[in-house]
Subunit: 594 residues, 2 copies
């Protein structure tokens, strides 16, 4: 028995109704992406993640990782699930066929990614980072490097990780000082990297590190950073494992959560220099790394969905079992799901989780179009839409998962605070998601600076047009949509008002954009969630009218969408007031007045 | 060096300007409660809690507690700070002189309580619970029991704890099944109690347990619960320690936070029955226990202030040291406190913390008046005000401290997720505060049921009148109060609107009150916070005009109050919309649709 079973009914609904599976399946190469294939994958993946992956989650939390003889040791249970991951072909589901993948669209792959992250987030970081690193190599390395490293990486025989952060260079990567000095046909890397997720382990024989470092002639700042591939073991002439490279994990961090994921301090070149190979051109490292980062940010958003879903299921199971108190009309004591306040909390988690899923999957569809659509205009449209939505998905999901996992703890009462119950782990694990792959502050700066101002508000206006046309649909959809329509209408007005205010004021004082950015991003997230839940409600109504799918599910979706409008959308107006307040009081105090 | 120093400037300000120290000092017996005495106590307590108490906080988190030979063992460091606590007379600061206390008002004692909870929350639970238990004994036990147990308890030679919860009886204490059977002049107690805070330890020789249990002839439900004093060691004829009583700690829980506080499963009467003594009358146990519970709820609210303050100080110190990124107008890289988004987060923590403190101290003043005011009308007024404010303080502070400690983690970036940094501990520790001493759901039911509906909205209307008169003051206070006045005006209207809606609708469907209760309580908290910060701003203006106190402090208070109105008060309107949505969607789904 496990306390997780993938919500395949909702996943299937969202992939089809919001994720535009039908449209995606018409893109070149995606003819296999039918609803039948989707259903088969959902069921098979659900069984595996429920029965095999999910039970390892708490084991990883308890066992953690440690260093033995200069190598990080991970729980043995992780080796078992990794075997399943590879043998089931889950690794290559949405990878290109040329690298041994199955070539399905991301909108199908995302469901499996959500399940694995629900099952065991700490473990899943390893193969997901490897996949991201593989993309970087595939896009930016020369053919020889690709031939040498990609097959093993795609097959999962080796893993990969990215090494960006240094003690003095976190959000500010311009401050990187790790050095790369040319020698023969490679480079010698020296320096220290921190917060390296799965930086070392005993899961696979070799680990490829993508390391940001500076060449001797590098200009200062972000334009002087190059990217190097630095393998744990150098390859011998036959491509087999050769010499151990000159870098080691110095320590693994004791963290608030994701204990099963080794977060390493890595030391490079203590004995002369670690051998690294330049990826692509010199000084372009940071932009290459963003190939990985942008996708990783979507994945972190998806972690919010995954942990919310798992916390929801555990809280729901408890609410259905736990007997406490009584209510009028029922003799004796009742299960707590009958108490209005517990129902309210369950509805909140459910509505947030479905809103997050709708958002993350919608962005994923744009990823498919941006990668595979032959029509340049459509491709560009989705590219810009993806760029815009990436910080929204990353931030809204990673911020709100703290609320949903906290509610799940709350539903358990005192038991929620006891680690054996397991729900506290989600509350701890999720706390990293608004920090790594760019903090909320960094996402907000990207959003307001690059995605709005530098874009002259073009992409956001296109998104608002999409939203407006849904509003028109809602207006004609009848009485049961009155609340959803009027809420969404007000939300759109509030967002438009906030955007107009930002457009006028951002040039007046440097501190303005920095002050309002997070609230604007969270407001955009809330309105986007409202939009997609409204869209879901309309789809559910159509399904009900045409007797498609499960009647109870479609009715629940309509109720949940209205609940979202009543209980979550109102935050839009609080964000608006915060934005309209501007930066004055935030800038007003001298540093010693804090 | 420690990372905590008590904010004595703000404490002194709040005690005087909101806590009405002058008025309290005119109550009988409080003539010593002068500002000079306050200042002396603040400084002395600040030094002790900073230098001696605060450094033990992380030690307790790391060491935790364990059972050895049927006894709970605590960190040795806790014994040292307990000695300071007793020898410094901190235990009896606000206790009655007849029990060896110093008889100062609670409004002075509360500052010391805040400091100790900032210093080491997990430890402080022990003496604070003992104090509460002492009050129960003082108010409800007969003279013989008082003479036998109170002196040792007040002197801190022994501690006390309360034993309410059982596996099947958490929020629902009606379900208690622990039995008490009369034998000679005592009772034999059998049963299991869980979640017993400091239920056992090696800090003192004896521990007094206040145990809720049922007599054989007890009616069912809450009216059949009696209270027993059950000492760990029975007393011999000379009042010395005699036979070990028949109850033991079975285990200590592994918890998300407050690791230094042993949370025990206690087993009573495995060898025939634990000897207990009836406190007061049979079947009145629960109401006696509420003597302690109501005060304890204020203390839990104060924990929110305490952990927010400590998290704020740590985040502030980091923001002043950590160099990252750059801003226009300054050459080179800057400390992160210069970034607008970091300032915004610091302002949020600061404003929440000061709002919480204002609220907790204001309620404490009503406690002083309700206990000591000779005028019956004033006494009753403050008694009702205290009853009304208790769930507000408990809930608003315990819910918002999750936000403030989370922001403090966020300001640290990746370092915040590393346990060694220490800030994650506050985030973990605070998670219990909205659960113990009555969950947020229970507080909300108490608030809407007993404090509003059963009171026919009298007390809340009196509070609204107080708020309205401040609004009038703001209206005439000049241009710098425009934003505070208009925000507070709108907040009051929103609260009045919500209350009117509840008054009309609560009789129509049982689920209505349960659905809206938490949002109404949180809305009341937000408006109360706005009121008290507005009041603080007016007081700071008066102080500025009369050159009283630190100019920088008073200016900062005015800025912080306005920031509160801009960034926290807007939640009032989101709560209003949630309340006006009523219970329909919360009640709509069948249990299997979740």
């Amino acid at each position: 028995m496990t306390n997780y079973y993938a919500p395949i009914e909702d996943m299937s609904f969202v992939v089809q109704e919001l994720g535009d599976l039908e449209g995606v399946s018409r893109l070149p190469g995606f003819a296999e992406a039918t609803t039948d294939i989707l259903q088969a994958i959902l069921e098979q993946s659900a069984e595996l993640t429920s029965e095999v992956v999910a039970p390892t989650n708490r084991i990883g939390d308890l066992k953690g990782t440690y260093i033995d003889n200069k190598q990080v040791m991970i729980p043995d249970e992780f080796k078992v699930i990794y075997k399943h991951y590879l043998e089931g072909g889950w690794s290559g589901l949405s990878e290109h066929r040329e690298f041994g993948g199955q070539g399905l669209p991301q909108i199908i792959g995302v469901t499996v990614e959500e399940m694995w992250q629900s099952g065991n987030l700490a473990f899943t970081l390893c193969p997901f980072l490897s996949k991201g690193a593989g993309r970087v190599i595939a896009m930016h390395a020369d053919q020889k490097m690709k031939n040498t490293y990609l097959p093993k990486l795609v097959a999962g025989e080796w893993t990969a990780t990215m090494d960006l952060t240094e003690p003095q260079a976190g959000s500010d990567l311009a401050a990187i000082t790790t050095k790369a000095v040319p020698e023969d046909e490679h480079y010698l890397i020296t320096g220290q990297k921190i917060f390296i997720t799965w930086g070392d382990h005993n899961l696979t024989d070799n680990i490829l590190h993508l390391v940001l470092a500076r060449l001797p002639d590098a200009p200062p700042g972000v334009k002087g950073i190059s990217l190097f591939l630095v393998p744990k073991f150098l390859l011998d002439e036959n491509g087999g494992l050769g010499q151990r490279n000159d870098f080691y994990p110095v320590s693994v961090e004791h963290k608030l959560g994701i204990h099963g994921s080794p977060t390493c301090v890595m030391s490079y070149g203590d004995n002369g220099g670690a051998v690294g190979y330049l990826v692509g051109e010199p000084h372009h490292g940071l932009s290459y790394m963003f190939t990985l980062m942008n996708h990783a940010r979507l994945t972190v958003g998806l972690q919010g969905v995954a942990l919310s879903e798992r916390a929801y299921q555990q809280a729901l199971a408890y609410a259905r079992e736990r007997i406490q108190g009584s209510i009028p009309g029922i003799d004796g004591r009742v299960t707590i799901i009958k108490h209005a306040d517990v129902r309210r909390m369950l509805m909140l988690i459910k509505a947030y989780t479905e809103g997050m899923r709708a958002m993350a999957y919608t962005a994923t569809t744009s990823l498919d179009y941006s990668l595979s659509c032959p029509d340049p205009a459509t491709r560009d449209y989705h590219h810009a839409r993806l760029d815009l939505l990436t910080p929204v998905v990353k931030t809204w999901c990673s911020e709100m998962v703290r609320e949903t996992t906290s509610l799940a703890v709350q539903i358990h009462g005192g038991m929620g605070f006891i680690e054996e119950t397991g729900v506290a782990q989600y509350f701890r694990d999720c706390r990293i998601s608004s920090i790594y792959e760019g903090t909320t502050g960094i996402q907000a700066r990207d959003f307001i600076g690059r995605k709005l101002i530098r874009d002259d508000f073009r992409s956001i206006n296109l998104l608002l047009e999409e939203m407006h046309s849904l509003k028109m649909e809602l207006a004609t959809a009848g009485g049961e949509f009155t609340i959803i329509h009027s809420t969404f209408d007000k939300c759109l007005a509030a967002l438009a008002n906030s955007l107009a205010f930002v457009r006028i004021n951002h040039t007046k004082d440097y501190a303005f954009a920095g002050t309002v950015a997070v609230d604007l991003l969270m407001q955009t997230g809330t309105v986007t969630g409202t939009w997609l839940m409204a869209k879901s409600a309309l789809a559910a109504r159509r399904r009900l009218d045409s007797n498609q799918g499960n009647r109870r599910f479609n009715e629940a979706k309509m109720i949940t969408a209205r609940f979202f409008c009543e209980h979550i959308s109102p935050l839009t107006f609080a964000y608006e007031l915060k934005i309209l307040a501007g930066h004055e009081t935030v800038s007003a105090m001298s540093e010693d007045q804090f």
